[in-house]
């Protein structure tokens, strides 16, 4: 599985999402509770807006000086005895990691949650190589057990499943016999996983933030699984998107604070694992060999362009958790592992407009995402920018729409035409009107009236009313003065 998920068309996926009552119950419930937790956690910090601005500054600064920090990071990792590989494409990243697996004759690989490895489709490559790949994040584990069901959320990958469904998956695939209580489910997964950590040849993780100054990588989790993935196997590979970097621990602290509050409404997550190079003589545990794979995969193309701010993203999913569109269609409808507003902006950039041209339109531009984004990415503006590019640069809009908009341009821009057009609207729409509204509209109106009534045009436009009233007033004014 790579970034793209499923092979259905957008409309079909949306239809399936809308019809999936279980998923929608799970998603809206999660949105409601996470929404409250997030805003409480933000409020508790006191000056949330200042924190956001600070977060934005840090991320913008890093993007402006990305070359510098990448070099510093690479140098420091190498000095610590780690290996750094810069992969321009997903293929390069996968080949490099496949090479390590071959050299180590790896049979078993444990993984902590990582979106970028999903993006490049790493698991499939390693499985092809004959490795058993085990996801250790509970959500990812559930999906893996369920025949590789794709993630529907960047923080809570199995958000689309409720606990009863998870119980059923465990029952069927793992012979689980207990209840659907989350604690019991988690315990079972943990028991299944414990053995795997001990015998894994390689541990693979993503990276929340790499610290350039020290050559460290950090992982923010609630389960502590990343600690085990980085501590036990002899070889460790960390895969990171090239923008996931901070200058020093000081900036990391700010961003982690924004991340945990925005993602799960917590002051801090239970675990923040920091790994600085491979194990040294005095260390009790840690990998003997450490590889850092820095993935570009289209990010350089975004850098310096009008979509650069999307690279500020710290993958907190706050935008997803407030998105009213995501609420009703779920993550899989986006056809990408990156869903919701962040996905609708990022997926067309990384995967192309041919694949993802509908996503920028799957938004009312309500701005809920922009309002919560902890690093102030103007998400709804970027969605709009995509539309502009699709229409004006790519020329990918449907012809009927183009014609409609052209005539809009002409009609709306000319007061004469506008006045003329609106004056005759009641007559033109008369055949469709019953009483005060239109139930079955013609042409482009049909899509509206399939769902709701359309108001019948007023017999007298506002502008005519206003003009007549002024006339009357003037006439009265004269009458009054004459009678005096």
């Amino acid at each position: 599985m790579a970034m793209k998920i499923g092979s259905n068309e957008f409309n079909e996926r949306v239809g399936q999402g809308i019809d999936d009552a279980f998923m929608r119950g799970a998603v809206s419930g999660a949105q409601d509770s996470m929404g409250v937790r997030r805003s409480n956690a933000a409020e508790e910090l006191g000056n949330w807006e200042d924190w956001r601005s600070h977060g934005e500054e840090i991320r913008q600064h890093v993007l402006e000086h990305l070359d510098y920090y990448l070099e510093q990071l690479s140098k420091n990792v190498a000095e610590l005895g780690g290996h750094v590989f810069f992969a321009e494409t997903k293929e390069e990243a996968n080949e490099y990691i496949r090479g390590i697996a071959q050299k180590k004759q790896a049979k078993k690989i444990v993984k902590a949650k990582s979106m970028v490895t999903e993006e490049i489709g790493l698991n499939a490559v390693l499985e092809e190589e004959g490795c058993k790949v085990i996801e250790t994040d509970l959500g990812e584990y559930i999906l893996q057990v369920d025949d590789h069901d794709p993630p529907s959320h960047i923080v809570v990958p199995a958000l689309h499943k409720n606990k009863e469904q998870i119980r059923d998956v465990f029952k069927e695939k793992l012979g689980y016999k207990k209840t659907s209580k989350p604690e019991e489910l988690a315990l079972h997964a943990r028991e299944m996983l414990r053995e795997e950590y001990m015998t894994a040849d390689i541990g693979i993780t993503g990276c929340n933030f790499a610290v350039a100054e020290s050559g460290s990588i950090s992982l923010v989790t609630n389960e502590g699984n990343a600690d085990l993935v980085t501590a036990l196997p002899k070889t460790q590979i960390t895969v990171m998107g090239m923008e996931r970097i901070v200058p020093t621990f000081e900036e990391m602290e700010v961003l982690v604070s924004l991340l945990t509050r925005s993602a799960v409404g917590q002051k801090l997550t239970s675990y923040i694992s920091v790994l600085t190079g491979p194990r040294e003589a005095q260390d009790a545990d840690g990998p003997e060999e450490f590889h850092l794979v820095i993935v570009d995969n289209g990010r350089s193309d975004i850098l310096g362009g009008e979509f650069q701010s999307i690279l500020q993203c710290i993958r907190c999913a706050a935008c997803i958790n407030v998105c009213p569109v995501y609420r009703h269609i779920g993550g899989h409808s986006y056809g990408s592992i990156y869903s919701g507003p962040i996905g609708a902006v990022l997926s067309p950039l990384l995967g192309g407009y041919d694949e993802y041209k509908e996503l920028p339109y799957a938004s009312t531009l309500c701005g809920a995402c922009t309002e919560v984004c902890p690093v102030k990415i103007p998400l709804h503006d970027l969605l709009h920018k995509h539309r502009e590019v699709i229409v004006e640069k790519e020329g990918k809009a449907p012809i009927s729409e183009k014609l409609l908009m052209k005539s809009f341009g002409i009609g709306a821009a000319s007061p004469m035409l506008y006045k003329f057009g609106t004056k005759f609207a009641p007559t033109a729409l008369n055949p469709y009107t019953n009483g005060e509204s239109i139930s079955k509209g013609p042409g482009p109106m049909k899509a509206w009236t399939d769902i709701r009534e359309f108001p019948a045009p007023n017999k007298e436009r506002f502008r005519d009313w206003f003009k007549n009233r002024k006339k009357e007033e003037n006439a009265h004014g004269r009458d009054d003065s004459e009678s005096r």
């Binding site: 569109v325 269609i329 009312t364 701005g367 809009f408 709306a412 769902i451 709701r452 359309f454 007298e460």
Partner: protein, 238 residues
Amino acid sequence: MKVSLFVTCLGDLFQSDVGKATVEVLERLGCDIDFPESQVCCGQPAYNSGYVKESKEAMKRMMKAFDHSEYVVCPSGSCAYMFHEYQHIFKSDPVWEPKAKKLAEKTYELTEFIVDVLKVDDVGAKFEGNVTYHTSCHMTRLLGVKSAPMTLLSNVEGLKYTELPGKEQCCGFGGTFSVKMGPISEQMVDEKVQHVEETEAEYLIGADSGCLMNIGGRINRKGKPIKVLHIAEVLNSR
């Protein structure tokens, strides 16, 4: 005070009662209203769909139409917001950016104008009934007008207000979204209608014509006994 009314295309054509109520309320508060005849549509439908070139012509028209106005008042948050957006759309345009800035500075949404400019919290309206209020996204999040409508409604005699559950959630209008993404829009507006029903209000009030047309259209289609009113109409009732 001289006030130019930007009535919006929906207001001109489909909801002339909203325009009329706006005129009457403002006149009662001592404003002298004019209606620049050459106003057209603010360009938002085309702009939001990505047709920036096409929409810019309409925007230029509007800047010309309101060039001489002292204040521009609009009974629709989203359209008032659009006037504020022009300055960003024409950024670095030597001729139009300054005009766009000028327009933004003098443009107000109706309730914002009454509370912040006229400094009136109570317009002396009377309205008997149980109501709830939909806070439109563009008006609250983008234009930043949150408290003015509530201030005015809280001073309407006889009005009983119940807060709408999930009040900040979008109603699913989104201009062309409502037709381009019909099935999603339907789910969104259905949840909104359900929330309105939960309040047991007889009236749903809003300050944005687009949202009201969407929610109202769905309410009517479903045959629900809830009436939809623009806030101007409530403020104009005595």
